[in-house]
């Protein structure tokens, strides 16, 4: 499979949020304003790409030689946690405003199932290192795209007159499902 195909698939037709339904926690929790959703997208992109690369090495150069492939889940979680910590330390010192906005969702990247999903799918599909990087990058761009789309929808929702019983979470879920249906139209794109 070509690298471009991987990118197109992960961003559009196999978008992690709308098609695989992974990583929904920040998707619903942090899409209130554009800055924080783009910031979250950036943080997730960094963590996903770095964690995928490192977990690739951990899997093929540590776990396989020692014959302990069954440790992949826990080893990958460890890797992800480390990178989340790195991002957290970095943001705390360099971009404290973004750090404050992200609040609890930043440490929650650790348990973002999208990232673990990406690292596990990389291994499952037997991707090479280059393919791994593209897959990770594409999925996090897809994630950021989903965040930005949802934020735009939610900003518009703020101005509209929503029936009382739909206010808050329900209308957000409904909007998310509509976007997901729209994304289903892209099925088959990228091979």
């Amino acid at each position: 499979m070509s690298l471009v195909n991987i990118l197109i698939q992960t961003i559009f037709s196999q978008n992690f949020i709308f098609m695989r339904f992974l990583g929904l926690c920040p998707f619903f929790g942090l899409t209130n304003d554009m800055d924080s959703s783009i910031g979250m997208g950036g943080a997730v992109t960094f963590v996903t790409v770095m964690a995928s690369v490192v977990s690739y090495f951990v899997y093929y150069f540590v776990l396989i030689p020692f014959g302990v492939e069954y440790l992949q889940t826990i080893a990958f979680i460890l890797t992800i946690a480390v990178f989340v910590q790195l991002v957290e330390i970095y943001l705390k010192k360099m971009i404290p405003n973004l750090y404050k906005v992200m609040g609890i969702y930043l440490p929650l990247i650790t348990t973002n199932c999208m990232i673990l999903g990406v690292t596990l799918i990389n291994i499952q599909e037997g991707y090479s290192l280059l393919e791994t990087i593209f897959f990770a990058f594409g999925s996090s761009v897809g994630f950021t795209l989903a965040m930005v789309l949802m934020t735009a929808v939610r900003i518009r929702m703020g101005d509209s007159n929503i029936p009382a019983f739909f206010k808050g979470a329900p209308i957000v879920f409904i909007a998310a499902s509509f976007i997901a249906i729209a994304f289903m139209g892209l099925q088959g794109l990228g091979g």
Partner: protein, 274 residues
């Protein structure tokens, strides 16, 4: 059981963890230098109650603001003079003038024995609930409800609920942060400077006859204190006496002549002063 597998898994994970931990340690050291060491020092000097009385979200953000020079060093109400001195030392600023100390005062004397009951209402678990849902059996619409929202809210444990159902403020512990003032739905908790003064310990703004029906110790607006005050320091506003502290010389005549049984006017805010 194959022990080699067990041991090797443990060893591999352990070494991975150690390696990652070491990396993190190095990384956080590299980035730790960037933070202002002043902030750390200021943080240590603050009471860490995160009461928010300074206007910032917590002690951490207040410390940052002080280090930037945005917040005054006497901004921390809870820490009192001690904290101000420490902060003045850290920041290299002299802070000579003493800040007025404030304490919370309960402006109601209507406990279980004094406040009259005119309804059968139960089910409230907090003052807030009792006030807004009208779940109080007390006849007085201005007095203490006795569910102790202030005591629960006090971050310093300075307020306890007395046996008569009224909150008791421990003025030595009270820092004047004003959280109880916000929590009290009936505005009975007020902050006053910690000096000797005469206060009307009743908040009922109704006229005398209505107060009579509600409470045994409420101010009935008889105006005796106004007439008898040698300094002419007392006026009436909203059916409650207002004492002009500039004129008042703390003679205590008003306190003795107040006809409502347990005095509505009390001299000396803190026993400490006497």
């Amino acid at each position: 059981m194959n022990w080699i597998i067990v041991v090797s898994s443990v060893v591999i994970l352990l070494s991975l963890g150690l390696l990652f931990g070491w990396m993190l340690g190095v990384f956080s050291n590299v980035f730790h230098v960037k933070e202002n060491p002043l902030v750390e020092k200021i943080k240590e000097a603050l009471p860490q109650a995160n009461c928010g009385a300074c206007g910032y979200s917590g002690c951490g953000s207040f410390a940052e603001a002080v280090a930037r020079g945005d917040a005054p060093i006497n901004g921390c109400v809870a820490g009192g003079q001690e904290t101000i001195d420490t902060l003045a030392n850290i920041m290299g600023v002299s802070q000579k003038e003493t800040q007025t100390r404030y304490v919370a005062v309960v402006l109601c004397k209507g406990g279980i024995d004094e406040a009259l009951v005119n309804a059968d209402a139960r089910g409230a678990s907090s003052c807030r609930m009792a006030h807004y849902l009208r779940l109080s059996d007390r006849a007085c619409n201005f007095g203490c409800l006795g569910y102790g929202d202030c005591a629960k809210a006090c971050p310093f444990g300075a307020i306890t609920m007395g046996k008569n159902g009224l909150p008791i403020v421990n003025t030595t512990i009270c820092t004047g942060c004003g959280i109880c003032v916000d929590k009290c739905p009936r505005d009975i908790m007020r902050l006053f400077s910690d000096t000797k003064r005469v206060l009307c310990l009743c908040s009922n703004r109704d006229t005398g006859s209505l107060v009579r029906k509600a409470c045994k110790v409420g101010c009935i607006s008889c105006g005796l204190c106004v007439k008898k005050c040698p300094q002419k320091a007392i006026t009436f506003k909203n059916n409650l006496p207002v004492i002009d502290i500039e004129k008042c010389d703390l003679c205590g005549i008003c306190v003795t002549i107040c006809p409502v049984h347990s005095l509505s006017l009390r001299q000396a805010l803190t026993e400490k002063d006497e």
